[in-house]
């Protein structure tokens, strides 16, 4: 099998080199244009087209931080799907539950970090319970697993409504995360020659940093540790992994714990930046679905790329065509499916 595969792969790689170089060039050009857009002082005609530099750069920054949040939610979703072929449509509920738990813990103890930790830990446990007691019984039947996850999401949404009612909560962030950061980006030059620098909420920068750290951590875990090796092997061929003596159910439980825990973590972090309310579960479920469809199933890198695309599209859409913003997200999904059905980083199966 692998012997047969090798020649065809190498020819693909050879013919793909020039194409890759071309794409690299395009990417480099795009990066240069974006860098100029961000750092240069805009001429008037550009300001008139894109409303204002402040609006544009804020949209980009908001898009990137939102992408960080989406990445946190979607990475768990994509890992669970990649390994277990389990489309967990209750993933949005996990996000919302994490947010509520984070709210309760932060409110009672006064320590925000404790809330974040609780969000992760409790949801990791919930994830393991879901995997061991529910999904394991339906292994190999992905339609029923999906249906069960839908059932869970309905019941979970209703029970959360019963406990926390329909109100909107905001998790209070600690003081050291409040305030704004002045970025070295000049938005405009006043008539007296003084430059106006862009300020941006510190908290959002921290969210982005956390997402990047976790993303790198996940990548390292998947590529440098023994468990990660097992997970990757399981994504490629589960039966073979099982046959070589690995307890796949333990691996599944770990992946579910990490995936659900990340959703809970994202819930607390997102609930602090935005708000916690019924209906958020559907929003983040949609985000994870689209991110994973665009990025490719089972790929962390794909989830990062997808999250970046969707986050940027959403925020830019919000600023420039407010009532048609969602169409942009939709178009990205359709174009991806038309050009590359398995997703940007997905493997053809």
């Amino acid at each position: 099998m692998s012997l047969l595969d090798r020649p065809s792969q190498s020819t693909l790689a050879e013919s793909g080199m020039t194409r890759r170089q071309a794409w690299g060039l395009v990417g480099l050009l795009a990066a240069a244009v974006i860098a100029w857009l961000v750092f240069a002082v805009w001429p008037d005609w550009l300001n008139s087209i894109l409303i204002s530099k402040k609006a544009f750069v804020s949209a980009i920054l908001n898009g990137i931080t939102l992408a960080g949040l989406y990445f946190l939610v979607a990475s768990g979703f994509t890992l669970i799907f990649g390994l277990m072929r389990n489309v967990n449509l209750a993933h949005g509920s996990l996000y919302l539950l994490g947010a509520y738990i984070g709210y309760e813990v932060t409110n009672r103890t006064g320590y925000w970090l404790l809330g974040v930790a609780a969000g992760f830990a409790v949801l990791a446990i919930v994830g393991v319970i879901m995997q061991v007691f529910i999904f394991r019984r339906l292994e190999g039947d992905d339609l029923r697993q999906t249906l069960v996850s839908i059932g869970i999401s309905i019941v979970a949404a209703d029970l959360m409504l019963a406990v926390w009612a329909g109100g909107t909560y905001q998790i209070t962030t600690p003081e050291w995360l409040d305030g704004a950061l002045t970025l070295p980006i000049i938005t405009a030059v006043r008539s007296n020659g003084a430059s106006v620098f862009l300020t941006y909420p510190l908290y959002r920068v921290v969210v982005l940093a956390a997402a990047i750290v976790i993303g790198v951590g996940l990548w390292l875990m998947l590529h440098k540790t023994r468990v990660g090796m097992m997970i990757r092997a399981g994504v490629d061929d589960r039966a073979m992994l099982q046959a070589s003596g690995v307890n796949v159910h333990a691996v599944f439980a770990i992946v579910f714990a990490v995936g659900a825990g990340l959703a809970g973590f994202a819930g607390v972090v997102g609930g602090s930046a935005l708000s916690v309310a019924p209906g958020e579960d559907v929003r983040y479920l949609l985000a994870s679905l689209v991110v994973v469809i665009v990025g490719g199933m089972g790929s962390i890198t794909g989830a990062a790329i997808g999250a970046l695309l969707i986050g940027l599209a959403e925020q830019i859409g919000l600023v420039y065509f407010p009532t048609y913003g969602i169409v942009l997200t939709f178009v990205i999904m359709v174009v991806t499916l038309a050009v590359r059905p398995q997703g940007i980083m997905g493997k053809a199966r």
Partner: protein, 341 residues
């Protein structure tokens, strides 16, 4: 059996026999139902079940015969409903071209069918479980779009004041005519699906469901067949959407929300996805529960109840109530054959 039909069929057309006793009894009961039912039972239970049964039927067509589980059926119905509101009359002072019903309805159903074909074309790019994800993403995105957009969908409030037509001297929104209208369209769709499943196209679709690669190798255009199935399902869902908007008199983003999308799936799964009668059965069960279980668990916790019932059905009997019946039936037959204790 088939031999008997062939020999006797030559002399006398025994379409009654072909129809089957079950269908005749059920049909008679449904036609006579208005004689015993109050207005509430006619529309809120009867009409509503039939409408959602049609929606479930369009899903059953796709998943039962095509192997594509869609969560976007309510979206397709919603497109027809919005089209009726926009093309016909509404009292929201936005759009409303004032077309007569006989022009607006075909266009609305056509729009729904085309939208369904488009959704199908997008989702058949991938296979299996991806369909459910893509259709859910489409349904959710459409819901948010309808909520945000005021130029076409009139945003959060949607359209109100949509009236069912009055023609042949009948106001079709009155309980009895509306019930018969729903019944007529439901029977039509049911018969069409049943007939279609035995046609060449239906057989090909089922073969594609079972083994797409082999069918492709045999020279069938797999994608075209699947997209056509989506188009047909879109017609049924579109008709249901028209009935739904006449029933409610209004359409808003809530009509096509994610809850509603999942409700259609629940209905189809509870009833059973193997036979076209399943969705109607499921719709009746869910609507009855919606109406009467509220007295037991209270209106707020209804979703928990329905979610639990759904979970139990998925765990116990993947083929829904029909599957349960299929499992019990052989036992009963055995019971009858057994020669005493």
């Amino acid at each position: 059996m088939s031999l008997a039909i062939a020999t006797t069929g030559a002399t006398q057309p025994n379409w009654l026999e072909k129809l089957g006793a079950g269908h005749i009894i059920l049909g008679t009961a449904l036609v006579l139902y208005p004689l015993v039912a109050s207005d509430f039972f006619l529309t809120q239970i009867g009409g509503y079940s039939l409408i959602f049964g049609m929606l479930g039927l369009s899903l059953m067509l796709l998943s039962g015969y095509g192997g594509m589980v869609s969560l976007a059926q309510i979206t397709v119905a919603g497109i027809a409903a919005y089209a009726i509101a926009i093309l016909g009359n509404n009292n929201s002072n936005i759009l409303g071209f004032g077309w007569p019903w006989w022009l607006a309805v075909p266009f609305a159903v056509l729009a729904a069918a085309l939208a369904s074909a488009l959704i199908g074309w997008i989702s058949v790019r991938t296979e299996g479980i991806y369909t459910i994800m893509i259709t859910l993403a489409i349904a959710t995105a459409t819901y948010y779009f309808a909520q945000q957009n005021y130029a076409i969908f009139n945003g959060h409030s949607g359209y109100a004041g949509i009236r069912a037509p009055v023609f042949w001297g009948v106001n079709w929104r009155d309980p009895r005519p509306f019930y018969y209208l729903c019944l007529g369209l439901a029977v039509l769709s049911y018969a069409a699906v049943l007939y279609g499943s035995r046609s060449t196209f239906g057989m090909t679709l089922q073969a594609i469901r079972d083994n797409p690669r082999r069918m492709r190798a045999l020279g069938y255009h797999v994608t075209a067949h699947k997209v056509f199935a989506w188009l047909l399902a879109g017609v049924i869902a579109g008709l249901a959407g028209v009935l739904l908007v006449w029933f409610n008199g209004r359409v808003s983003p809530g009509t096509i929300g994610v809850d509603a999308a999942i409700d259609v799936l629940i209905i189809a799964v509870i009833g059973g996805l193997r036979h076209p009668i399943g969705p109607f059965l499921g719709a009746l069960v869910v609507v009855l529960m919606q109406t009467f279980a509220i007295d037991i668990v209270g209106a707020e916790r209804f979703n928990t109840l329905i979610g639990m019932v759904f979970l139990v059905i998925v765990f116990v009997s993947p083929d829904g109530i029909l599957g349960l019946w299929g499992r019990i039936k052989p036992h009963l037959a055995q019971e009858a054959l057994r020669p005493g204790p």
